[in-house]
């Protein structure tokens, strides 16, 4: 294992985050602040409690889930796409780095960035509502596990994308709608039966629900399904990434 090489990929990617630090920090802070003003204070005061917690508390795990999914995918996909675009991916391909070291390097950096953003969302939410973490182990498991999983997915996207349009297509057209329809702002029981069934086939619902369980101790579905969701999120992209690096698809002639 090339530990120094792995560390250097992580370090380099984190430097990229540092270069856009204000944007990385301000954006989640501002969006959380606005969500709380609009949903937590204005609309939430009319709703009262959901599953035994205030509406403001109820939406925090969902907001964190949205941030995890979007930031992990964007950070990892743009990281590898930029290297392909500039041709500097050859720096990694010519170095004694295996596919797993390259994949882990990008994903750990992306997950670290995402974790920082999630922490900022949590801290911003604390300005509005009390948020003791109900199940700390599961909270960090789902936070980091999903951040890594979506980073793997982001790498697939960054390798597949032919241009910037394709790069932004998946986050805009697929991830954003799935996030909004994943129960971020409502409980499953608040929906009509048909929408409840549709929500259950949305994979992001399980992440929102898992974070809600680990943070607030309330859940609409089983914890096992959420754990399985994380496992699938790791295994499928990792298998595909291995195939891609071994075959050289779009990265090696």
């Amino acid at each position: 294992m090339n530990w120094i090489g792995l560390k250097m990929i992580i370090w380099k990617e984190l430097q990229r985050t540092r270069q856009v630090f204000l944007q990385a920090v301000l954006s989640p802070f501002l969006s959380t602040f606005l969500y709380f003003i609009v949903f937590g204070t204005a609309i939430g005061s009319q709703i009262g409690t959901v599953s035994g917690v205030s509406y403001g508390q109820f939406i925090v795990p969902g907001m964190m889930a949205m941030a995890i999914v979007m930031n992990s995918v964007l950070a990892a996909s743009s990281g590898i796409y930029f290297l392909r675009f500039m041709g500097t991916i050859n720096d990694l391909l010519t170095a004694p780095l295996s596919y797993i070291e390259i994949v882990l390097g990008f994903s750990i950096a992306s997950a670290a960035r995402t974790s920082l953003i999630s922490a900022l969302i949590y801290l911003t939410a604390l300005l509005f509502v009390p948020l003791p973490i109900a199940h700390p182990f599961w909270f960090f498991f789902f936070l980091f596990g999903s951040a890594m999983g979506f980073s793997f997915f982001g790498l697939l996207l960054g390798i597949w994308a032919k241009d910037f349009e394709q790069l932004s297509f998946v986050p805009t057209i697929i991830i954003t709608p799935l996030s909004f329809l994943g129960g971020v702002f409502y409980s499953l029981t608040m929906l009509p039966p048909l929408w409840q069934k549709l929500t259950l086939i949305n994979p992001l619902f399980y992440l929102v629900d898992a974070l809600r369980y680990s943070l607030l101790g309330i859940s609409s579905t089983s914890l096992t399904i959420s754990i399985l969701f994380i496992l699938v999120l790791w295994i499928v992209p990792l298998i595909l990434l291995r195939k891609i690096f071994l075959s050289g698809y779009k990265i090696r002639n």
């Binding site: 090489g5 560390k7 720096d91 004694p96």
Partner: protein, 313 residues
């Protein structure tokens, strides 16, 4: 002793284009090997396969006794690669560019080494500059610096002088010469035949994916080099006298010059001059010229179907 052994190397793309056909080549430790060939001949593909950016479809590569497939980590540690394109992150500083590259190779931090490389390449003053602020020539030097951060034993330079002005090119030649004296084996591809003629110990010519020729530079120049003797006549002549026909002389259009081509091994110039004297053809001046590597290269790549395949010696 070879540091690089390439055997029956093949590259066939999915669109059936065969970029390399059974290339066999040995590169000796400490030598400077120039790989010449027209565009699309397979030079970059060959280098790319050895360095890991292109996948081979057949053959074997050994670097310093390590198999490039089964012992790829050890092989890559030994190699430095300077690509043809200016592939650099415009937002990184010069220092960071080298710092990251050394890390990717799993090498521990060594600021003194990076400082030496940057000073050797006259980039020390630019260490805090972003890549996007540099000129094309400086970027080219950063690429070379990057390739040296892992202290390679064999350095591949793919068209290192492309887009570099004359002064800088000469500076780069000096630098490459210095690397060679430090024991680094250098393999370069170039379009500047002057570069190969000046620097190389051996020359390989690749054409349509096949290694057409590998030979010591001096032997190549001697073997294929041609000399030209031009005699500037005192008075124009209408025709070449029959007694001089055996020399295959050419009379210039203005009838004032006689041109004689001969190989370096030939020694009948004295006979020619004696015969001219007996024919009472006198000359005011004479000039000799030796064919350059460029002439030889053109001559060789035009000789389709007359490939002289010399596997490495």
């Amino acid at each position: 002793m070879p540091i690089l052994e390439i055997k029956d190397l093949e590259k066939k793309y999915t669109n059936s284009v065969q970029a390399l056909k059974n290339v066999t080549l040995n590169i000796n430790k400490g030598e400077l090997f120039a790989l010449l060939g027209p565009n699309g001949a397979g030079k970059t593909t060959l280098i790319g396969i050895v360095c890991g950016t292109v996948r081979k479809t057949g053959g074997t590569i050994m670097v310093d006794g390590h198999d490039a497939e089964s012992n790829w980590r050890a092989v890559r540690q030994l190699i430095g690669y300077v690509p043809q394109e200016l592939t650099l992150n415009p937002f990184d500083t010069v220092w960071d560019t080298l710092f990251y590259q050394r890390g990717f190779y799993g090498r521990p931090r060594n600021d003194a080494l990076l400082e030496k490389i940057l000073k050797d390449l006259s980039l020390w003053d630019k260490r805090r500059s972003m890549i996007r602020e540099l000129s094309g020539g400086m970027k080219r030097r950063v690429l070379i610096g990057k390739a040296l951060t892992n202290e390679p034993r064999i350095l591949f330079l793919d068209e290192p002088s492309a887009g570099v002005d004359v002064e800088l090119r000469k500076g780069m030649w000096d630098f490459v010469g210095k690397l060679k004296t430090e024991g680094v084996t250098v393999v370069l591809t170039t379009h500047y035949l002057e570069e190969a003629e000046l620097l190389a110990d051996r020359i390989g010519i690749i054409r349509e994916g096949e290694l057409a020729f590998v030979e010591e530079k001096q032997a190549l120049l001697h073997r294929f080099g041609e000399k030209t003797l031009t005699l500037f006549l005192e008075k124009p002549i209408d025709t070449i006298p029959p007694s001089l026909k055996g020399f295959d002389l050419i009379l210039s259009e203005n009838k004032k010059n006689l041109i004689y081509h001969y190989s370096k091994g030939q020694t009948n110039v004295t006979d020619l001059l004696k015969n001219l004297h007996s024919e009472r053809i006198f000359y005011q001046n004479m000039e000799t010229a030796t064919s350059s590597l460029e002439d030889i290269f053109l001559q060789l790549i035009e000789k389709k179907g007359e490939t002289q395949k010399i596997t490495n010696l």
